[in-house]
Structure formats: C-alpha cells, structure tokens
Amino acid sequence: MIAFWILAPIMVAAALGLLFARKAVHAALLLAVVMISLAILYAVQDAPFLFAVQIIVYTGAILMLFLFVLMLVGVDSSDSVVETIKGQRVASILVGLGFGLLLVIGIAQVSFGTAVGLDGANDGGNVPAVARVLFTRYVFAFEVTSALLITAALGAMVLAHRERLTPKLTQGDLAAQRMRDYAASGKHPGPLPPPGVFARHNAVDTPALLPDGTAAPGSISRVLAARGTVKSAPEIADDIKALTGEDSTSTGAAHTEGEA
C-alpha cells in the first residue's frame, strides 16, 4: 500500500501534465511516467507477468512508436490554442469533472469487501497460472488475436506505403540538372565549400574564408546561421592576436592553415 500512496500522486500529476503540456514530446514523456508507475502497481498487485508486459509493450514499444511518429511529424508541432467551437474547452472540463465525480461517488457507494488475493490462483507461479487460463479457456480469443495483429501489420503497411509518382532520378539526371541550373542561374555546380579549418577553430561553426577575408556563406550549416552561433572571421583573428600578442592588420586569410 506504501507503493500506491507514493505512486498515485505522481501518476495523477503526470496525467494532469498530459493535459497541460504544450509540447507533444513532453506529453509523451509524462505518459511514460504514468505507464511505468502503473507497471509497479501491477507488480504490487501480484501480476508480475503483466508488470513485464506493461514495461516491454507499453513503455518499450508503444511509447517509442509515439516518439518516432512525433519526430517524423515534427517536434515543434505544438497545439493550437484557438478554439474552433466556442466554449468547448470550458464545457469539456466541466463535463469531465462531472464524469469524474460521478465515477468516484459511484465507487464510494460500493463495498468491495475484503480482497481475496491471488495467492491461491497464483499457485505455482503467476506466469504458469496465466498461461493455464490463457491456453485453455481463452485459447480461441488468443488465436483470434493473431488475426488482429496480422491485420494491423498489413493495415500499417498499406497506410504507410506511398506510390512513386515520378521516376527515380539517376546520378546522370542529377548531374544534367546541376549543369542546367548553372546555365540558367549561374548556381555553382560543385559541392558547397567545407567549413574553415583553422589552427584554433577546428569546428563546423567556423566559416571558410574567401580570398578577400570575408566568410563564405555556403560553408556553414543553415541551421547554425539561423541560431546565430557562427563565429565570424574577425573574431577568430582577435583570438589569434590575443595569443601571439602581435598586431597584424592582415588577419583572417593570413592565419588559415589549409581549408580542408
């Protein structure tokens, strides 16, 4: 019972967090908290087999699938706060509270008696006991489950499959396209310049320098440029000046040591 009183507040808090988390990834992690806590409650209630299944199937497979799809769909796809139906949020919270109250009051009215406990039913181990029931009385349901799983696998394959509408581009096509772009707009047909490799800054956030000492714009990742974490060439030169103590005006290009 100690485990219950420790875990119950955690679970309710995490479940409430599921309602208020703006980011879907946070919601997934809170759901993981609820599921692991539930697994422990299963273990407490003499269900070690379901404890293992809960952790393996739910937190292992299903939640990872959720996170996988979240990453595919885009992590930043947060909820819109716009209400499409007026007053829907307030109404649904009220309905939810009413429903919860109804359930809790209903349960409070019932007398459950003393729990029999599973010591008798789990005689000889929980897993053999579950298997005995599963493969005798519920063997047909168990077999039907296999049909369900095959259908689900087929369904997922059909839904995820995408027909190729255009022929696949070969290396020759891509090369021809590059030359056409060069002829049409003067776009450089070769690969982008690599980031500069300097004596002090051997990192991708250091731009390559053009012969006139300015940074080559194509040499750094667009993402780094958007974040503003790119080092500028004069800064690098300052660094070198501080190290050597010399005050040379021909900075940047003079200090490059081969641009990879």
Binding site: A61, Q88, F112, L134
Partner: protein
C-alpha cells in the same frame, strides 16, 4: 491492501484521459490520452482480479494490451498519412467530411 483506492485512482486517470481527448487539438496527444484511458481500465481489471482471487481480470488486461498495440500501429499510420497530405497533425484540420 484495500481495493477501493486503486479503483478510485483508475477512475481519476480515466477521467483525465477523457478530458484530454475532449480538449487537446494535436491528434498524437489525443491518441496518448486514449492510451491513458486504456491503461486506467487495465488497472481496474487487475485490481478486480486481485479482489476476486482469480486470473480472469489479468487475462482481460492482457488482451486489452494486445488490442492497444494493434490500435496504436494503425492509428499512428493514419495520423502519418493525414500529416503527409495536409501537413498538419491537428484534429481540426481534418474536417473535410463536414462539408
């Protein structure tokens, strides 16, 4: 160990899942709330299994888990397909059947 606190916890989790389905707009989070409701019912099933001293409840919870796994696979594939065509995972955007 008493039985009632577990059932009350299960009811509370189920209610939270319900409210989540009603309020959240992101299809994936709505799906997570459905999973929360399934899990809450599993807790009730396992608690009743202990209260009654037989394993039927645990078997039922086991089958709920199997069906939930199948459901998640198909549901997430549907969400992926909708996202691919509409560039959105919001449940409000898939309203074409309304008109």
């Amino acid at each position: 160990m008493e039985v009632a606190p577990f059932i009350v916890l299960s009811a509370i989790l189920f209610t939270i899942g319900c409210v989540g389905v009603l309020t959240r707009r992101n299809a994936i989070v709505v799906f997570m709330c459905i999973e929360l409701m399934l899990n809450a019912s599993n807790l009730a099933l396992i608690t009743f299994s202990r209260a009654n001293g037989n394993l039927e409840g645990q078997i039922a919870a086991f089958f709920v888990m199997v069906v939930a796994a199948a459901e998640v696979v198909v549901g997430l594939a549907i969400i992926m397909t909708i996202f691919r065509t509409r560039r959105s995972a919001s449940v409000d955007d898939a309203s074409l059947l309304k008109y």
